[in-house]
């Protein structure tokens, strides 16, 4: 049960928690949080793989930085959509 496998397992579990949340919850805000959890889970898997070599693998770290900004912009769009859908429904 090496450190890498431990963090890989934590990342995979986080991804599953996010996926489970996305499929079972109905409220838009919680589903957006679930998507962020799935993203963090995959990024944790990638960084666990990067941490196999001591100065961690720069390619994977760069990929995750790119992935993080993609996740933030998608979350921002999703939140505005959820807000407008909510306002549309209530007004």
């Amino acid at each position: 049960m090496s450190t890498t496998l431990f963090w890989l397992a934590v990342g995979a579990l986080l991804w599953l928690i996010g996926l489970h949340g996305l499929l079972t919850l109905r409220d838009a805000l919680r589903r957006i949080i679930a998507i962020n959890l799935m993203g963090s889970g995959v990024f944790l898997v990638m960084i666990a793989l990067a941490a196999r070599v001591v100065p961690s693998d720069p390619v994977l770290v760069a990929l995750v930085v790119t992935g993080l900004v993609v996740a933030v912009s998608a979350t921002a769009l999703a939140l505005r959509l959820a807000g407008s859908a909510e306002r549309g429904k209530s007004s």
Binding site: L22, I35, A85
Partner: protein, 473 residues
Amino acid sequence: MNLALLSLTLPLVGALLLILLRPAGGRWVIMINLASTLAAAGALHQVMQTGTQWLELGGWQAPLAIRFQLSPLAALLLLFTAGLHLLVALYAARSRHAIGGEDFWPLSCLLQAALAALWLSGDLFNLYVTLELLSLAAVALVALAGAKAYRPALNYLLLSLAGSLAYLFGVALLYGRYGVLDIALLSELAEADVTTRLALLLMSLGLMLKAALWPLHLWLPPAHAGAPAAVSALLSALVVKGPLYILWLLWSRIAPVELAQSAGGLFAVAGIFALLCGGWSALRAPYLKTLVAYSTVAQLGYALLALGLLLRWQEPSLSAALWLFVLAHGLAKVSMFLAAGELQYTLGSKRVRALKGASQTMPLALFAFAVAGGSLIGLPPSGGFLAKWLLLQPLFQQPQHWPWAIGVLLGTLASAAYVFRVVALGFDRARPTPASFHPDRLAQWLAMLPALLVWCLALISKPLLLWIGGVSQ
């Protein structure tokens, strides 16, 4: 390769300038699309001579950096994307009701640039970034239709993000296992062990969710029906084909043979179910654009069936059928959605029942719908028929595979049913629904143009079959 890059950067730079200077979008976008179509045609002509060209971005060797791969198929898809964008831009410039807002122009250019980047890229993580670019552009376009489209757009965005993250998980596993992200290098290294099987499963689930292939297609009809007409045409004809291209790349290049054969059967069965379920839902859909959206799900079943049989029998000629389906469906679906949008806008109602007597009030639009439907069904002289003919060729040679032919037959029956449901209503002239204003003839002609193109494919069928057969090697 430079012409392909030109066809990629023209819409990207054009979109940025459109956002910055905010001119009247229509004319500029038509010029950009025309130039990028010519560039793509030049690239295709060049690549047919020299064969697949490679470009290492940044001048670094393969495993470290991203590599662009311009195969004849990628060049054909570039031309197909630019051409369809040109056709939709021509129609959208004419009838402004179909675009939902001035933002349509820069967004459609960004969509074209995202698709071009996807066709050209040869790197798994780069494909993830292009997939995100594609889904964000598609969601922004769907949201153009106003408040009623926000909920389906949000659902589309969330499921599409979940699909991308499943795909990214698979990419992380493959990188962890083989240490390389380039597709060509992976195809040499890949072997059938438990990690590769899990990675390919995750990536396929993510891509099937994004391409709305059968079990994971439920988000597509509300999103495509809610979007403006020109947007749903682009979405159905192009956006769902991007993930399908990556799925084909994965299973025909990276996956080892025995994995591909076992997965081929599943894909083929899923294709048959897509045909039946899509056809059945389209038959019962009360709204016109929902009917056309379900027909997209059904027609993707043909492509999935072709992919499944291609993998199961390792029969290269079937990939020609797959890509001919993609071409024919793209052209026919653009014409069908534009005609449906025109009918819905002029007759003032979203319901299929409102098309009563449409052959009298709007003959051109209904004719365009019927011609496009003919190609979807696969009537002989159309592009759809060529693709189905290519699909059925191996079945004729080995008669012991007859059950698959039954599946294709049922699919054709279902698609014929929902097309003739609309056409029959059109000719029921008892109490025709009056047009709310004088129908715009030029817009209907522009909506019919792609359908006529898909029927012209038959005129050049001999060179087309040889050419696409060569392309997909």
